[in-house]
Amino acid sequence: MRRIYPTVERQSTFAIDVPTSLIDRAQRGDLRAFEQIYRLFERPVYTLALRLLGDADVAREILHDAMLKLFQRIAQFRGDSPFWGWLRQIALNEALMRLRKDRKLEFDAVYDDIEAEVAAPWVHADGLALEQALGKLSPVTRSVLWLYHVEGYSHAEIADSLGKTISFSKSQVARGTARMRGFLLGVTESASCLFAPQTT
């Protein structure tokens, strides 16, 4: 899987500076350094996995697997990109692989029929309602929406990681946004469809 880095940073939850000395210790196999890095990134990795996969148990598995992979490969880290960006890419790859493995490849193909003039309901929605609405999206649509809006990935980068086109990423953001609006306004769900994954 190719490594991609967002071109537009939107204060990713991963954006934590890790001291070089801590990375050096981890590269020498210091277990306590591993633990410190784990503690720093436990919540960002878990949150990313939870948002993409929508399952707490699976998200914890992704957290475990991503961290294990990170530590097993940490000697390869050369410092030519931010450490957190490298870890985020590992976590994202793990989550996307799990989506493919579990065949959770549904995406939203239909717009909810909402009047454009309706005010954005998420402005006043509480966090729980927003999370519930997010959870109702299909996994791929939710992933695209999260990566674009929260992690700051560009459409090109999202398309690359999913093996889809830029148009696909744009349409998923648009449709996901429309569906979020519909869910928060209590509109009946629209249909989802499946796509066959393209190998990258």
Binding site: G29, F71, Y111, A116, H149, R175
Partner: protein, 197 residues
């Protein structure tokens, strides 16, 4: 069905709302499982002796070496005419697997005595002892897959002996602490040099 413009749908306010969601935490930390996996994969090493134990461990190791060496490393000629044992450090060969195994058993025997007669370890000592015991367990796992002829066998046994000495240093430190506090402790077992004789 109406199609709205991209600007209308890609509402930045949604992004702001999503970014405001709090970070989630797993119900249970994944670290214990991760730590086990790292140890099993050999990806991690524990600092063997923390600063607190560095001096007692070095002392114990030096005393052990001093006391054991004359009985274990001899020149091919063995005893001198006068009947005393000759020790030639410069020419000393690396300890064999058999000798390291004996040493390991000897220290383990001492540790058993201390455990039976000494008091409980305090929190920090217990944590350190547990970590060292975990590492010994890992070495044992590796030893289980290697025979004495294996090139790694001597290094593994050496590592096991070193870890046992670290453990002995922790126990010794505790025994002295107990004695200093007036808590009953086996004075013989508490002496750092006793486990090597």
């Amino acid at each position: 069905m109406s199609i709205r413009t991209a600007n209308d749908l890609n509402d930045d306010t949604l992004g702001a709302a999503l970014r405001d969601l709090p970070l989630a935490s797993p119900s249970a930390s994944a670290w214990p499982d991760l730590e086990r996996a790292l140890r099993a994969a050999g990806a991690a090493r524990q600092p063997l002796v923390r600063k607190r134990y560095a001096i007692p461990a070095a002392l114990a190791a030096a005393l052990a070496l001093f006391a054991v060496w004359p009985n274990r490393v001899q020149t091919p000629g063995g005893a001198e005419p006068g009947g005393t044992t000759t020790t030639t450090l410069a020419a000393a060969p690396a300890p064999s697997v058999e000798r390291l195994r004996d040493e390991s058993q000897r220290i383990e025997g001492w540790l058993r005595k201390v455990s039976a007669s000494g008091g409980p370890l305090d929190g920090r000592d217990l944590m350190a002892a547990t970590e060292v015991e975990d590492l010994i367990g890992l070495v044992d796992l590796q030893l289980a897959g290697a025979n004495d002829a294996s090139p790694d066998a001597a290094a593994l046994w050496r590592q096991r002996v070193d870890l046992l000495r670290d453990l002995a240093a922790i126990r010794t430190n505790n025994a002295y602490s107990l004695a200093g506090n007036g808590v009953a402790a086996n004075g013989t077992a508490a002496a750092p040099g006793t486990w090597i004789n």
